[in-house]
Symmetry: C2
Subunit: 320 residues, 2 copies
């Protein structure tokens, strides 16, 4: 049994131990991708022509052949001479609900060089490190990718005592994001006129295709909450369901294939005599996962996937 | 736009407003179910015999026929004369990864009357209210079930000001559970001999087939954490993967079809002079969702899905 008994305080003393960049709230984007479903590409090459949509037959074929992972390798090269690579277990790679694609267009234009021209893998709802650019090879394999970024990095584990580093290779490779939300406007530290209320807006997102069904904003540290108005799901929820802008509640079908962020707005009353407010936001996804209040619950050696409540401080100028 | 501005303090003053039973940590169980995949049952009746595993063809067939939901009705009757019922969107009902079954055995014996003899629906990873017993009818439908338990209850929404009740019918029906964990031993309020350490054990679970990849226990309110040892996934993770008991880290494949709880144990050192400790536990699922520290983030009108850190108080008797 492996014991972890480092305290956060100790951790802070040797901050290099938490190795990672501080991405703040900005390292996320959304785009419209065009490509071929990976499952269709494989079915085209591996199944008889009258069975091309029989994904279950493809799954059984691969399973019986001992294939457990689909690996992706890029044509780029790192200083050690290795390409960037990743892989997916076949349950996920072949699941049409996951919509894994070999993409050739971004926002309806051919991929640019920086975005992986001519082909890249898009694994919706998953972290950037799995999305291989300049795709050079797809391999059917018994094991996951040997790539450093698949096996040796982006792992989620408590720091160990004595500064020891656990064997990261045996840990699961991070795939789907947890639920998260951010206040974009106003910005942290801004001073606003107190007009009796303030409008806030931002985005929320969850991984694995789970949609956002609620965003809540508090001006008293989580004692009370305001429900935000959510933008329509984009793209519209599966099977042509329409999300009705006029009906705040038409969120019924946000349970699968929700790959894009959800924008939200809310208006919160501000009493006259208030000079400073900390606003926090927290989202709920279609599996009813919520965000933790602080980073304590998400402590890990690389400081990854920290999705605690986003907090901003706003000053109010009542002089006007 | 609908505003919610009730404070928790107000809520506590009129506690009947949060309408629900207090289930504590006990209202959960796990069993081995035997049945027929719902998708196979429908394919058998609706597809040509040489296409019986072509789930995509079945999906297209239903979609083109305008079917959006599969409804389930029981043969029981409530005081108003209606049967207990539920429904699933077709994306979920037909997804072989979700393993929705029409079950006829529980723990390898025919269902007992109380468990729904002769047939019931099992929707793994989902709340009890969807699992229709004494199954009388399966209906292909454009709309979700009209059942009170599908449309009028078990909804997740902030309490509204002035005691108003929002239109629950338009809200999504709760399906998958969020990540949760419980300390089973020792029990809250127990007094133990201080032998220098204490063993704790319990279960953890997440909905939608997401496995548990970490359970953490703290004896200082979340400032530091101990990683628990997890039992093998049960049943073994998909496709015959074996979870290796000797290797704490062989959790790589706990990302799909993990329908049963995960048992955990941990041993935590207790300094000699300590007389009382609050232990808390928190789990991480394969989408890296964690539990909130308090119930603040999960506030809702029915008090549902409250998965905040489980806390127990233990006294230590150092007299021995």
């Amino acid at each position: 049994m492996i014991k972890y008994d480092i305290k956060i305080a100790e951790l802070e003393e040797r901050i290099p131990y938490v190795k990672g960049l501080s991405w703040s709230e900005g390292a996320i984007s959304t785009a419209e991708w065009t490509g071929v479903l990976l499952v269709d590409l494989l079915a085209y090459h591996l199944l008889p022509s009258n069975q091309r949509t029989n994904y279950q037959a493809l799954y059984e074929l691969l399973k019986n052949a001992g294939v457990r992972h689909i690996r992706f390798d890029g044509l780029d090269m790192d200083p050690t001479g290795g390409a960037f690579g990743s892989s997916l277990p076949i349950d996920l790679a072949l699941d049409p609900q996951r919509e894994v694609i070999v993409a050739f267009k971004m926002n309806n234009k051919p991929l640019t060089r920086d975005h992986g021209f001519p082909l890249r893998i898009i694994i919706p709802g998953s972290i950037g490190a799995r999305q291989v650019k300049w795709l050079g090879q797809i391999t059917l394999s018994t094991d996951e990718s040997e790539s450093f970024w698949q096996k040796g990095d982006y792992k989620y584990v408590l720091p160990m005592s004595g500064g020891k580093v656990p064997d990261l290779k045996g840990l699961p490779a991070i795939l789907d994001y947890p639920v998260q939300s951010v206040i974009c406007k106003p910005s942290d530290g801004q001073t606003l006129k107190n007009t009796g209320s303030v409008s806030l807006s931002g985005y929320a997102f969850s991984g694995g295709g789970r949609g956002i069904i609620s965003v809540r904003v508090s001006s008293d540290g989580g004692r009370s909450w305001y429900e935000a108005k959510l933008s329509p799901a984009s793209p519209p929820a599966g099977q042509g369901y329409v999300t009705d802008m006029d009906n705040h509640y038409s969120l019924k079908n946000r349970s699968v294939k929700q790959w894009a962020w959800t924008l939200w707005t809310v208006e919160i009353p501000i009493p006259k005599d208030i000079r400073e407010v900390e606003f926090v936001c927290s989202a709920v996804d279609s599996s009813y996962n919520t965000q933790p209040e602080s980073c304590s619950a998400t402590l890990n050696i690389r400081g990854l996937l920290s999705n605690c409540w986003h907090r901003i401080n706003i000053k109010f100028d009542s002089s006007g």
